[in-house]
């Protein structure tokens, strides 16, 4: 039904060799799947750092707290 959406990325051969060596016994069956796994971890941690602290407006927060108190979740 759908074509797989992949693209090719070039990496230096010595690095590919190192990755292949590191892959032994990990369960990954290709350099591509190992690199995808590592990149997702790296990007996820960068994005996490970049995200600003979650905030709600004071008015919204007060309304929510009122409801939580009315329902017995907060004293």
């Amino acid at each position: 039904m759908s074509s797989k959406k992949y693209t090719t990325v070039s990496i230096p051969k010595p690095l590919a060799k190192k990755i292949k060596k590191r892959m032994d016994g990990t369960g990954f069956n290709s350099i591509s799947s190992y690199v995808t796994y590592v990149l997702r971890q790296v990007i996820s941690s960068i994005e996490e750092e970049e995200k600003q602290k979650e905030s709600f407006s004071e008015e919204d927060e007060e309304k929510v707290k009122e409801r939580l108190r009315a329902l017995g979740y907060l004293d």
């Binding site: 039904m1 759908s2 797989k4 959406k5 369960g27 796994y37 997702r40 971890q41 990007i43 996820s44 994005e47 996490e48 995200k51 979650e54 709600f56 919204d60 927060e61 929510v64 707290k65 409801r67 939580l68 329902l71 017995g72 979740y73 907060l74």
Partner: protein, 380 residues
């Protein structure tokens, strides 16, 4: 507390003049009536339970989810959230349509972005790992309309629920957890009356975090499942008698059980992350049905999602050991099987059906009494 999945908590609840105008115009606009399960999906999108989804999936996201268990933005997502329609001709890309609930009441607005045909058998195989019509998810998929409708939605009216007291949106649980001073929160998914095995799992996890978020799924269930109000009353009783008020919170999740096993376990974890949980308990055969999935497949799948950003807490099966005098698993109890008794949900259901109370080493007496006193206990 965990960040919402995808980084931002979605809020598609319209307020003010635009909402009033749309509700006035609703009767003149083209509309689509949704069944109760799709209406719940729409509500979960608009309140952020399904963040980062801001609407029903367009073809690109749908296909990515089936092929790669990811949205087109590469964010982990394992189950399609879609609206099916029987005929393509009824709607047009680019138009706004009113969403109506099962009673014909207008509650939402959809901006139609995509109308596309899909292969039901392919979808069933990729989501449920089988095309066996005995599987409830497969049967439902094969009965869907031939086309899917994708596009962003807005909520115009709140969802009414008989369980208002237990109905919290992700924004509310996040503020609640913050007010309680909880930094680490473990989510517990349930669709059962709690026995001592459940309590053992919950309290073991609670030892390592600040609070537990007990989040029963309310919605369409199988024949023989406990009724929603029975589950809620049973948990209320358990929490009143055996939990510290400052360490445990219960609120409902209105969603359909899909019985998609491993893929649904990831979906369940994502929803709890959006409520603010940092951890999520995954037991044996989580969201499974029959013997379609391996007993620990729902735990193993987490290895494939290193960027999920919620920590799964895995439990093996657990039993009561008369020598230990409590709930145990194979890692902590040295005794033979002859000293052990399974926490059999089937056995406890049978006892309740016969008006009997399970023994105190299986279920707290207060909980058992609350259940046995109910005139109707199960979905018929």
């Amino acid at each position: 507390m965990s960040k919402p999945h995808g980084g931002t908590l979605v809020n598609r609840i319209l307020t003010g003049k635009k909402k009033d105008r749309l509700l006035e115009e609703a009767e003149e606009m083209k509309s689509l009536q949704l069944n109760s399960e799709l209406r719940k999906d729409a509500m979960n999108i608009s309140t952020g339970v399904y963040s980062p989804l801001d609407g029903f999936m367009v073809k690109e996201d749908f296909e990515n989810v089936l092929e790669h268990s990811r949205l087109s933005s590469d964010i982990a997502w394992t189950l399609p959230i879609v609206i099916d329609i029987p005929e393509k001709e009824d709607y047009n890309v680019g138009e706004e349509i009113i969403l109506k609930d099962e009673n014909g009441e207008s509650f939402g607005l959809m901006e139609v972005e995509d109308i596309y045909k899909f292969d039901k058998k392919d979808m069933a195989e990729k989501i449920y790992g089988t095309d066996d019509l005995d599987h409830p998810g497969v049967r439902k998929t094969m009965g869907m309309g031939d086309y899917l409708l994708g596009g962003e939605i807005y909520q115009l009216k709140e969802n009414s629920t008989p369980f208002e007291k237990y109905h919290l949106k992700p924004m509310e649980t996040r503020i609640l957890f913050k007010e309680k001073g909880w930094r680490t929160i473990v989510g517990f998914q349930t669709r059962n009356v709690p026995h001592l095995g459940h309590e053992y799992v919950q309290k073991t996890a609670l030892t390592f975090v600040d609070g537990i978020f007990i989040n029963p799924i309310i919605g369409k269930k199988k024949k023989g499942d406990y009724l929603d109000e029975v589950i809620l009353d049973a948990y209320d009783t358990l929490m009143d008698n055996y939990y510290l008020k400052d360490r445990a919170v219960m609120s409902i999740l209105e969603a359909e059980m899909r019985y998609a096993g491993p893929k649904e376990a990831i979906f369940h974890a994502i929803m709890r992350k959006n409520f603010g949980c940092t951890h999520f308990i995954v037991g044996r055969d989580h969201a499974g049905v029959g013997d379609y999935y391996g007993p620990y497949a729902a735990q193993e799948i987490f290895d494939k999602f290193p960027d999920l950003d919620i920590t799964p807490v895995f439990f093996k099966s657990f039993t009561y050991c008369e020598k230990c005098g409590g709930a145990v698993d194979g890692f902590i109890c040295p005794h033979d099987d002859k000293h052990r008794e399974n926490f059999s949900g089937t056995k406890m259901r049978k006892m309740f059906k016969e008006g009997k109370i399970p023994p105190a080493h299986m279920m707290r007496p207060e909980v058992a009494k609350r259940v046995v006193d109910k005139e109707q206990k199960f979905v018929e």
